[in-house]
Symmetry: C2
Subunit: 153 residues, 2 copies
Amino acid sequence: MINKTRSLSLLKKAGLKVTSPRLSVLNVLASSKKGHLSAEDIYKELLESASDIGLATIYRVLSHFQKVKLVSSLNFSSGRTVYEMEKGEHHDHLVCLQCGIVEEFMDSEIEQRQLNVAKKYQFTLTDHSLTLYGICKKCAKEHTRINSKISNS
Amino acid sequence: MINKTRSLSLLKKAGLKVTSPRLSVLNVLASSKKGHLSAEDIYKELLESASDIGLATIYRVLSHFQKVKLVSSLNFSSGRTVYEMEKGEHHDHLVCLQCGIVEEFMDSEIEQRQLNVAKKYQFTLTDHSLTLYGICKKCAKEHTRINSKISNS
DNA sequence: CTTAATGCAAACCGTTTGCATAGAT
DNA sequence: ATCTATGCAAACGGTTTGCATTAAG
C-alpha cells in the first residue's frame, strides 16, 4: 500500500500496461517485510487487502515481470518458486530451514572462483545458483531453549 | 546390467531387502553413462530392458536409497529431481542448458568461503547447493556451426 | 476501437499415497 | 508365517492454459 505511485512509475518505465493486478503484485513484493514470496503468499496477502485477483493472474503477472527484469525467481529446496524484486546487483542466498527467513549475501571471491571453474571445464557460464541452508541465529536460540527444557524435565 | 552382483552386495550392506526393482534401479544408476537421472529417465530405461516396474516403485526405491545414503538427489532449474550415486565426496555441479550434461566439480576455496559467510550471518550451516549453468564446449561448437550456416544462407 | 490482461475452471506434470497382492526373509 | 515391497490408479500441489469477458491505450 505504501508506494502506489512508485509501482506505477516502475510499470510505465518497463513499458507495461498499468492494471490493478499488476500494481497490487508489485506493491506486495516491494513492501512485504519478507522480501521473498511465493505466488500463493502474494495471493493470500492480496485476498486480505480485498483485492479481487486470481491466482492464475498472479502467475501471469510474475512471469511478465520477469521478462522485463522487474522481478527474479528462485527455487529453494521447498519446491515452490519464490520471487523477489530485482535490485540490479547479483547476490546469493542463505535460507533458514526452520523459519524460512532468507538472507542475501555476495562474496566476490566465490564469484571469481566460479568463473575459474567454468573456464576450466570449458563452459560458457550463463547463470548460477548458490544457496546455503541452515538454522538462523534466532531459531538456534529457540532450539537451545527447547532442548534445555526437555533435558530439565 | 553390468554389475548385478555389485548391486546385490550394496543392497545387503545397506541392510535393505533385495528385490528386483531395487536391483534394477541401482544398476541403471550405477551404469548409465549420464550419471544424473530423473525417476522418469530410469523408468524409461527399465521399460526397454523389459523389466516390469512401476513409476511409483521407482520413486519409493529412490527415496529409500536416499535414506540409507546410497543415492542423493538434486534439483536443477528444470524442475524435475535427478538422482546420482552417492560417492562419498562432496561436489557441486555444472549443467549444460542445451544438452543437459552434468559435470561435477569441487573447489575447496569456495567451500571455505561458504563457511565464512555462514559464520558472518550467524547461520548454522547444514547444507548448500551450488550449480553453474551454461553451455558446454560441445554445444558451443554446435552453436557456432549453426550460426555460420544461417549467416551463409 | 483494438489488442492485451483478467478470472475462472479445467488441464498439466512431477510426485505421493491407499489399497489389495506378491514376494523376501 | 510375517511383514515389507510392489503395481495400479487415484490424489496431490504447484503451475499453466483455453476461453469468454473486461479494461487499457
